[in-house]
Symmetry: C4
Subunit: 192 residues, 4 copies
């Protein structure tokens, strides 16, 4: 069912494109026309940049993963929708974190949604591997998946420390993004 | 006219992706940064989850149905646009229901739009079957269509009881979603 | 350059899907939960229905027209973007007309944008026909194009009478929509 | 990896379509129904037209450029996301400039974002050329790229004069748009 895969890609691209773009709507145009009027927007802008990078990473990896998925079935479609659900909450958590200058509760919620999005991504990956049977191309490409194993641990630590030092948890979200921003040589090798 | 079908899919994917994503905009970022500030958003969030699941079901079934439609004609294009019209009202009814904590009138309107969306889906299915003639692949795949027959009855009952017990009608909307969330084995068998 | 045509379709589908969906955002969720609270939204809803139908017609005809366009060039891409520009103003004019209960100036502006969108559509059609040379498939399919000739006249009359009887001009917009809603048998015959 | 290129196009089309359309949301429906009520919206409308033209130019040139890119790799995907990031800020800078009647700081920021978008476009072009090796089709098509060389200089001059004469810098943004609106004969020749 190649067609099914095409629409899965098209729909995911559509949802991701909209999520990434409506975050900009949180950057509300200030009334004044001085540089000082932009200052209160700085934390909103910085959290926008972080979330843009996260969604870009998800799009990039989703793209590589689905490329190695020959056919879609009902479970894969639902696992994909489940991932999109968690990603769709990122504009909200981004806005809350940005408008409150990275205080404790918003930083925790931001990490929680990232954790569930990561879990949903792992579940989708697992569902595709299972559907491919014994000699799964995706399983071979993913390999030890140390990034996928490390990220949830880092998210949980970040969530834990957010009560005391939200700045540290924020730094860990940036760290996870940096780990992922480097494309996976294994999958890249197989797909290119 | 394969091309026509492709654009029908692409346009429907686009509209569904946007509908599903703009619902998040109803989750307005609260001004405070405490957990208590999120509490008033809980009913809005729950109604978002319900509507996300409904739209995911529609996308999933639409995807299976159009897969069995070899070619599009004018009637199919319009029947599809008619379905998208009713689905486009879901963000509004979701927002109204969530912001009023599932009170009577919003619960009724929510069910009414679901009822008309279901009717529009049935009409689209009927239009495709009719266009395929005597040995319609879709007709064969749909079979007795007990879900399609049961849903409108459940919607109408839910609309009826919403005057007295909105919670019961809400439970019935969840029930219909659960019935549909399980992919139809018949269509799945044919398409995979 | 088949690829060019595909992206022209994909981009137009995307823009049209978004235009058609963001109009719903004008239907602002009322604060109360009674049926009376919905009443002030009725004119906004009715103007939404009218504009939804107009954009559906544009999508439908655009779809048939591009189907008969074998290859895209720079002029066609720009003529298409010019059409999308005018269509992108429809959510604004729809909202202004709906919120002011179809009074004179909003009704005039609504017609003016429809007039320019119609002119842009004609220009795009003309550009494609010109690019196809002497034995243009599209020219043959369009035929006498009586709808394309009648619509601008009806729009101009509607704009003229909107000063005195906005209701009449509104009725004429509905009339033009009804004329177009019936698919063109000529193009349908060629493409199906 | 042809597939990769298709999704790169689809995702870029999605993001560009949304960026171009959400700018319209800055055109907020006025409460009154007289022509005078539209007057304050004129600068917002004019800046919308300018940004629409800029995004249309980017879509057009992006379309021609990717057409000459046979395969995508990780660097190209990220260079493309980087371009989309800067373009995603245009609705914000457009809104700020329009609401403040083209005063100094907003005009400067508008030019700054255009400058970075132009630089990101150049970087994407460079990344594709590099991936194509010695006999790059794109390099051949781009040629001397005088537009790509002239634009950043004009942007920087416009940014410089915006402190004293914002109107002049605005005129230069219009000038750059006019330079680009004419399709590049070199690329056009190769692709059509």
């Amino acid at each position: 069912m190649k067609m099914g895969k095409n629409r899965l890609e098209a729909f995911s691209d559509g949802v991701l494109a909209i999520i990434i773009t409506i975050m900009v709507l949180e950057l509300k145009v200030p009334h004044g026309d001085c540089w000082d009027d932009l200052l209160p927007l700085l934390p909103v802008f910085l959290s926008y940049v972080l979330s843009f990078v996260y969604l870009a990473i998800y799009w990039n990896n989703h793209h590589h993963m689905i490329h190695l998925c020959q056919r879609a079935n009902g479970s894969i479609l639902w696992a994909n929708l489940h991932l999109l659900f968690w990603l769709s909450l990122i504009p909200f958590t981004t806005g809350w974190m940005g408008e409150n200058h990275f205080s404790a509760a918003p930083c925790l919620l931001y990490g929680l949604v990232l954790f569930f999005a990561g879990a949903a991504y792992w579940l989708l990956q697992h569902t595709i591997i299972k559907s491919q049977g014994a000699d799964s191309v995706l399983k071979h490409a993913v390999g030890s998946d140390w990034k996928g194993r490390l990220s949830p641990i880092l998210y949980l630590v970040a969530i834990g420390v957010s009560f005391y030092w939200p700045a540290v948890s924020l730094g860990m979200y940036v760290l996870v993004a940096l780990i992922w921003i480097i494309p996976d040589p294994r999958i890249e090798r197989v797909t290119c």
